[in-house]
């Protein structure tokens, strides 16, 4: 899942980037309003974590631009302003959530997870596909009751495919949603990681879960 962090206070921005990245999210971060606007309106972000007081363009302007352009990103406002008017103004301009500084990193994570689920119309915090069980909160994966250990990168790939289970997902979409803007890897790594994932969740005496549709992409679940 790809997240954009727009926060001008450097220590906070760096910590959030590091923390979210370690949880497997692809994170782009900037401390400048104009750069943030460019990222927000140009990329396919699942969640944008947005500070309101920014140099250049302020947070509410970015929010408005994102909504005017019809981007599907969910926006979580992160600010030290906690008056009711501030919250109402942010939510009325199209923000999806509001978190007041200082906050618990756990809470920010939980809210980001909820926003991601909302983006894929997934209300339940766990996904079941045949005998595959994915707990979105603890990031634990089981197949047929057997625990499967995944690297963060593999987990993110599986989570994205699971959230869009039953749909054909193109390699470009996977790339857009799981890799950072500044990533040095090429989109071929998607195929490599699909290979790793298959090795871990599939075995000879069970039905296939990840299907390859030549020229179109991948599909998790039953082939239509």
């Amino acid at each position: 899942m790809r997240i954009l962090v727009i926060e001008d206070y450097r220590p906070l921005r760096e910590s959030l980037t590091k923390g979210l990245h370690e949880m497997g999210y692809a994170v782009d971060a900037t401390g400048d309003g104009e750069e943030g606007l460019w990222y927000a309106t140009g990329g396919q972000y699942d969640v944008i974590v947005l500070d309101l007081m920014l140099p250049g363009v302020n947070g509410l302007q970015i929010l408005k631009a994102v909504r005017d352009k019809g981007c599907g990103s969910h926006v979580l406002i992160l600010t030290a302003k906690d008056t009711v008017e501030d919250r109402v103004r942010g939510l009325n301009l199209g923000a999806d959530d509001y978190l007041v500084k200082p906050f618990a990193f756990e809470e920010l994570l939980a809210r980001i997870r909820a926003l991601v689920r909302r983006g894929y119309r997934q209300k339940h915090p766990a996904i079941e596909i045949q005998d595959l069980h994915i707990d979105l909160t603890t990031q634990r994966v089981r197949r047929g009751g057997k625990e499967i250990t995944l690297t963060p990168r593999e987990y993110v790939l599986l989570e994205y495919l699971a959230l869009r289970a039953g749909e054909v997902v193109s390699r470009a979409e996977i790339w857009e949603h799981t890799y950072e803007f500044h990533s040095t890897a090429s989109s071929n790594v998607v195929d490599v990681y699909i290979g790793y994932l298959r090795k871990k969740i599939e075995h000879a005496d069970a039905p296939r879960l990840i299907h390859t549709l030549r020229g179109r992409g991948y599909l998790l679940g039953e082939k239509p």
Binding site: Y9, K101, F105
Partner: protein
């Protein structure tokens, strides 16, 4: 001294009026009483004179034979009148029959001058008025050659008294009438004045109600919007002006409190997120070290913020003490560079100290150091990479002007005018390092003021120049 304006007005007007009425009543009574008594006395005196004319002195003998028509009055028991005649030595010559065994008061004075007095009826104690007439009796005119004519030695004293209860009754009625009229007038006036005063002071009451309705969290209301009497309008205007000033001061306080909260919350969020992210998993010792030093960096920023806020609060309260001394400005400017040297080098900035040698100012070293340090800090923060920072000083009359200029300024003229406001970052956000919160230049200005100087900012092209003017 009564505290109520209403009571004071009522006491003043009604008291004054009652005093006037009393004075007027007493005067009217005195005049009327004098006239009535005088009239009564004149009639009494004429009776006495007629009776006196009837007394004859005949060969050394007093002959007091009064004619019947004159005596009629003195025999009426219903409305008695009395007379009595004495010799000079006090021997009674005659008295009217109704006097009986009693004596009238013997009123004697010089011959021909009647003396008036009030007295009591010896029988029924009614009030009488009496006149005493000392006279020389007439010598019988028919006696052509009297042996001796009456002289002063033979003068007699005649007292005539008459019932004056009617007169005194009338006077008593007049007294009560005047008292009643004055009392009733005062009472009525009190009623009227109470109404008038209440209506007159009504606008004060309504203003008081409006003032009482003002809450401390809503100072936007203004009192006395309707027409008001000329005496109250200035009070209303002053109060409204005071409200405006209070509202502005409260707004400023509220904004600063919100800004302070914001400025403290952001680094707190930074510390918390940094620590929490570090704790999400087991890490290498080196990583913990870097997290700790990051937290230390954040707390240093917070310390600066708190110190600046405290300094501003002290400057606001005028609680700073100055120690004026001679300071070599170029030397001081060089000494403040050290903390910024790393940043200056990292961003490729150039620094030029253009202050001439032996440029001496008379000022407080601690304050001046903070001013220069804040100016340099601000310049380093907002100069674009590879920019230039210059500090110069010049003497202008009895003032010293210190100027710090930096290139790479993106402020507009309007923004430059606001740089001295607290928490006013040019674009409401932090500078390069993320620790600036818009207090530095506010401090510079307040300290310049404390040193009896001033601070101005000017943008020309992409160069921002902040000038501090101080007395020599």
């Amino acid at each position: 001294m009564t505290s109520s304006l209403r009571t004071r007005l009522l006491i003043g007007t009604i008291g004054g009026m009652a005093l006037l009425l009393a004075g007027l009543s007493v005067t009217v009574y005195a005049v009327i009483r004098h006239a009535l008594v005088a009239e009564f006395d004149v009639s009494l005196t004429s009776t006495a004179e007629i009776l006196a004319a009837s007394v004859e002195f005949e060969a050394g003998v007093i002959d007091a034979e009064f004619e019947e028509q004159h005596l009629r009055e003195f025999n009426d028991a219903e409305q008695p009148a009395y007379y009595q005649v004495w010799r000079r030595d006090g021997e009674v010559v005659c008295r009217s029959p109704l006097v009986g065994a009693h004596d009238l008061p013997r009123l004697h004075g010089p011959v021909g001058a009647p003396i008036h007095s009030a007295c009591r009826d010896p029988h029924n104690h009614r009030r009488l008025r009496a006149v005493g007439l000392t006279f020389v009796p007439r010598t019988d005119p028919q006696d052509q050659d009297p042996p001796r004519r009456a002289t002063e030695q033979d003068a007699l004293v005649m007292v005539v008294a008459r019932d004056a209860s009617r007169l005194y009754g009338q006077l008593a009625f007049l007294r009560w009438l005047l008292l009643g009229v004055a009392g009733a007038t005062t009472a009525l006036a009190l009623l009227v004045a109470a109404v008038v005063v209440r209506r007159g002071l009504g606008p004060l009451d309504s203003i008081a109600v409006e003032i009482a309705a003002i809450r401390e969290d809503d100072l936007g209301t203004r009192i006395g919007q309707g027409p008001l009497p000329g005496e109250i309008a200035p009070i209303r205007d002053r109060l409204n002006a005071l409200l405006s000033r209070l509202e502005k001061a409260f707004d400023r306080e509220r904004r600063i409190t919100a800004d302070v909260a914001h400025e403290l919350r952001t680094p707190l969020a930074g510390i918390r997120a940094t620590i929490e992210v570090a704790l999400t998993r087991q890490r290498e010792a080196g990583e913990y070290r870097s997290v700790l030093s990051q937290c230390l960096e954040i707390t240093a920023g917070m310390e600066t913020l708190v110190a600046n806020l405290l300094m501003l609060a002290r400057l606001d309260a005028g609680a700073t003490t100055l120690q004026m001394e001679r300071i070599d400005l170029a030397e001081l400017a060089d000494s403040i560079r050290a903390p910024f040297a790393e940043k200056v080098a990292a961003r490729g900035l150039t620094w030029e100290n253009g202050i001439g040698e032996d440029f001496v100012v008379h000022s407080d070293r601690v304050s001046l150091r903070m001013i220069l340090s804040n100016l340099l800090d601000n310049a380093v923060e907002y100069t674009a990479s590879a920019g230039h920072i210059g500090i110069t000083a010049r003497q202008a009359g009895d003032k010293v002007e210190i100027a710090v200029a930096n290139t790479g300024c993106t402020l507009t003229r309007e923004q430059a005018a606001q740089v001295f406001e607290r928490f006013s970052r040019a674009d409401a956000a932090r500078g390069q390092t993320g620790v600036h919160c818009g207090l530095g230049l506010a401090l510079v200005q307040e300290m310049a003021k404390a040193l009896h100087g001033s601070a101005t900012a000017e943008v020309r092209g992409n160069t921002l120049t902040v000038r501090v003017t101080l007395p020599v």
